[in-house]
């Protein structure tokens, strides 16, 4: 991994990041998730205002913006994790995946979450063995066949670029791993159940630069099979990993465009101020 130059190029604060992504056929990508006129409240407090967003299939979409602007809120709406928050409610609008409104009464939230996996900001491996962590999603679905589970564990860990590091201690506690390994384990755990979409909420915020680079590389590889939505407050990271970027500010979607365009030539003044580090 470290033979790639990317790992070393994490400047702490580059004012005008280089756009390295090839944005050639982005417009041809099919829309997978469609957010329409979406308002969202925590109790009386409105957290999202009239969001309209189309997230393309098998690309990486980044949400950026200052703290508290509602990035996580929107991300958690995509697999209805906000159902857990008692005061949370949807004000208006809809979120469609494959054209189906995920908040409609007919939708089984369990099925939704099987298709839309999530990796959290704070890595949360279960206090079980590495093996049990990976197989957890399958076991709760009633799959107990050993040979199949073994296969999935290897495939998922290879998919999360973790296999070589942990193959000899699959039955050790997951909590004995390093922070970066734990986060990659969470990614492996998510892809073990073969979702379509993986949501990541600031997956690298607690990691050192090398671990961050490993995760970023992993995201790049996962893109071929999965649609990825990543929240980050790190603009360099957004430019490195994402194809499209959405900029949020105070609960509103300010600008949504191809990453290369948004960072090199933003339409909006607020966007420009933010990416040049004038606020946030």
């Amino acid at each position: 991994m470290s033979d790639k130059p990317k790992t070393e190029s994490v400047p702490p604060s580059a004012p005008a990041p280089q756009v390295t992504r090839d944005a050639g056929d982005l417009s041809a990508a099919k829309t997978l998730i469609e957010v329409k006129d979406f308002d969202f409240f925590y109790g009386q407090k409105q957290a999202l205002f009239d969001i309209n967003l189309e997230i393309p299939e098998k690309l990486v979409t980044a949400f950026i913006g200052p703290s508290g602007c509602g990035k996580s809120t929107l991300l958690r709406c995509l697999n209805r994790m906000n159902d857990l928050v008692d005061v949370a409610r949807i004000g208006r609008g809809s979120i469609n995946i494959h054209g189906v409104d995920i908040n409609s009464k007919d939708v089984d939230v369990i099925e939704l979450r099987k298709r839309v996996g999530m990796v959290f900001q704070k890595s949360n491996p279960f206090p079980k063995s590495i093996y049990e962590n990976i197989t957890y999603g399958l076991k709760i679905r009633g799959i107990h066949k050993k040979s199949y589970l073994d296969e999935v564990v290897e495939r998922s860990l290879r998919g999360a670029a973790l296999w070589d590091e942990v193959k000899d201690r699959l039955h050790d506690s997951a909590l004995g791993m390093s922070g970066g390994q734990q986060q990659r384990l969470c990614i492996a755990r998510a892809i073990a159940v073969e979702p379509e979409i993986i949501l990541m909420d600031e997956p690298c915020s607690a990691l050192d630069p090398i671990a961050t680079a490993q995760i970023e590389e992993l995201i790049d590889e996962l893109k071929t099979d999965y649609t990825i939505v990543i929240v980050t407050h790190n603009m360099q990271q957004a430019t490195r990993v994402s194809d499209k970027t959405a900029f949020f500010y105070l609960g509103k979607l300010i600008e949504f465009d191809e990453t290369a365009r948004l960072f090199s030539n933003p339409d909006n003044k607020q966007t420009e101020d933010y990416i040049t580090g004038r606020f946030g």
Binding site: M81, I110, N124, F126, Y136, G137, I140, L175, C186
Partner: protein, 614 residues
């Protein structure tokens, strides 16, 4: 110079110790806190050490198996005490006791001497009897073999006699060939020959030792001699006869034919004239022989009988000796028993009610005295131990099940709001309700309303309700301590809420729940008030699993319980030397059981903690 001095002065004053109000208060309160803590520790320590010390005396023994199993495994019994305290007696009682004691002592001394003497005699007797017996046995054996030898000799003699007779008959027959047929009838007479019997060493020995045998032998010799005599006579006569016949034949041969007939006639006459031996003589002889033989037989049987009697006598002696031994053992036992009885009569009687009524009461009454009874003090506490274990296990099972279910509902499912807060507050307040109120609640609800009577199940439920607040609060706390990430992580993988709780929340919360439940266990095991009306019997002879008509009866029976037992024995019976042992023992066992339960919970928690750590 002066300025330098001033400086030094100032510097030495800089960190000088000063007494301020704050510092005084500081040290006063420091000491107050310290003393309060020491006082508490000392008070608690004193109580604990006293119970442990006194209880250990009851519970442990100095010799193997070192534990007083009787106390742990027996049912409670009454202890009857006849206190030996002359001061409290009336004059008659004093006299009666004195007489009783003196009599007992005297009787014991007397009896002891008597039995000792008897035994000494018996033992001496035994020794001589043994020697005699051995000699007699030896003698009788020799005599027996002698008799056998004699009989053998006699048989041989008889056989030889018969042989000689046969031989003689043959000779006689051949001689008769010469005798004309018509004259033969006169000649043929039964006759027995006799032969020499060799004198052996054995015979000499026997004769030397036993005159009777000698007499018998003499008789036989006599017969033999007579027979020999007869034989000789017969031989002589036979010879003569032969000669005569030979002469006659020779003469007849020499005679001319006409005289031959005449000669033969004369020969016949001669033979007739020689008819011998005299039949009466022979008859006489046979009779004499028979007589002697029967006499001999008589002697022999006499002799045998005599020795048989001697052997019998010896056996009788042996039997008597055995009897004596049994008697000795019996007597010693009786002596010991009597001694024990006498001793008990003037000291204490430890017995259950039935034994006391049947055995001791009459004796004590007869002496005009009375024994004091202390309930529970004469036996063990096993039913109470069993009851407490059952109550604790049952109520903790109920409380943990209900408590964890309720806590999961409250902390994982219920919507936050005023209602939830009210419920939480009520549960918290329940924890402060006095246990006697729980007892009354259980009495009203389970005993009367559900009609369960005073029962194990009623007690379990009452105790469970008493600890439920503690368990619910503790469980909620433990559940709250599980990071939200575990729940979200599993939900994001498509788990239902219950799956997520079951697989990813409860297992991590259980150690905490159990830890906090230790407190509950100790409380459940230790409370008296809640079971007083709902489950506890002051005394129950049957153990919980004994005498059940049907299995469900197990849950609907009252039980004894250690805390209630402690309450009863410390408040309902007198405190003195006789009851103290049992009271402290009960308290100590109770402490140990509670400590044991707590220890188990802690070990369980450590094991679970090791399994789920984050």
């Amino acid at each position: 110079m002066s300025s330098t001095n001033e400086n030094t002065q100032m510097n030495s004053d800089l960190f000088k110790r000063t007494v301020t109000k704050a510092k005084v208060f500081q040290s006063i309160f420091f000491w107050a806190f310290r003393l309060a803590t020491y006082f508490i520790i000392l008070a608690a320590g004193f109580l604990f050490v006293k119970i442990t010390y006194e209880g250990s005396i009851t519970l442990f023994k100095t010799e193997a198996p070192f534990v007083n199993w009787k106390f742990l495994s027996e049912r409670p019994q009454t202890l009857y005490v006849f206190e030996w305290s002359p001061d409290s007696f009336s004059e008659e009682q004093k006299e009666a006791v004195a007489t009783l004691e003196a009599e007992t002592r005297e009787a014991m001394v007397e009896r002891k001497a008597f039995y000792e003497q008897a035994i000494k005699e018996a033992e001496a007797n035994e020794k001589t009897l043994r020697v005699e017996l051995r000699a007699q046995m030896k003698k009788s054996k020799a005599t027996r073999s002698k008799i056998a030898a004699l009989t053998g000799q006699d048989e041989r003699l008889q056989k030889d006699l018969e042989k000689a007779d046969k031989k003689y008959r043959k000779l006689w027959a051949s001689a008769l060939e010469e005798v004309p047929v018509e004259q033969r009838s006169q000649l043929i007479t039964p006759y027995k020959s006799d032969m020499e019997v060799p004198e052996t060493e054995t015979w000499k020995d026997v004769m030397a030792e036993d005159p009777e045998v000698k007499a018998a032998y003499d008789l036989v010799t006599d017969i033999k001699n007579q027979k020999l005599e007869t034989n000789a006579l017969i031989d002589a006569e036979k010879k003569r006869l032969d000669e005569l016949v030979a002469e006659r034949i020779r003469i007849t041969d020499a005679l001319p034919e006409n005289l031959k007939a005449q000669s033969e006639k004369e020969l016949g006459n001669l033979a007739a004239s020689l008819a011998w031996p005299d039949p009466s003589f022979l008859e006489n002889r046979a009779g004499k022989i028979a007589e002697i033989e029967s006499k001999y037989d008589e002697k022999i049987s006499d002799l045998t009988q005599k020795y048989d009697r001697k052997i019998e006598a010896a056996t009788d002696n042996q039997r008597m000796l055995n009897k004596l031994y049994t008697l000795k053992a019996d007597n010693l036992n009786r002596l010991e028993n009597e001694k024990q009885a006498k001793i008990l009569k003037v000291k204490t009687i430890e017995a259950g009610d039935r034994v006391y009524r049947d055995v001791y009461a009459p004796k004590v009454d007869a002496a005009g005295l009375s024994a004091k009874g202390y309930s529970y003090s004469g036996g063990g506490i096993f039913p109470a131990i069993a009851g407490t274990v059952l109550l604790t296990v049952g109520s903790m099972a109920i409380a943990l099940t209900l408590g964890i279910l309720s806590a999961v509902y409250l902390s994982e499912y219920a919507k936050p709001g005023t209602l939830l807060n009210t419920i939480r507050l009520s549960i918290l307040n329940l924890a402060g309700v006095p246990s006697i109120v729980f007892g009354l609640f259980g009495f009203g609800m389970f005993v009367i309303f559900f009609d369960w009577n005073v029962s194990l199940l009623g007690g379990c439920f009452t105790l469970a309700f008493m600890v439920l607040p503690v368990i619910i609060t503790a469980s909620e706390e433990s559940l709250r301590a599980i990071p939200q990430g575990f729940r979200e992580g599993s939900l994001a993988l498509g788990a239902t809420k219950w799956t997520s709780i079951r697989t990813n929340v409860l297992p991590y919360a259980l150690p905490g729940i159990l830890t906090s439940s230790v407190l509950g266990v100790a409380r459940v095991a230790g409370e008296t008030a809640p079971i007083m009306f709902t489950a506890a019997y002051a005394l129950r002879d049957n153990l919980p699993w004994e005498g059940l008509d049907k299995p469900t009866d197990f849950f609907f029976q009252g039980v004894m319980a250690l805390p209630y037992h402690i309450y009863v024995v410390s408040s309902k019976i007198p405190q003195n030397e006789y009851t103290k042992r049992m009271q402290y023992g009960t308290a100590f066992v109770f402490l140990m059981i509670v400590a044991g339960i707590a220890l188990t919970s802690i070990l369980l928690r450590i094991r679970m903690r090791k399994k789920y750590k984050w």
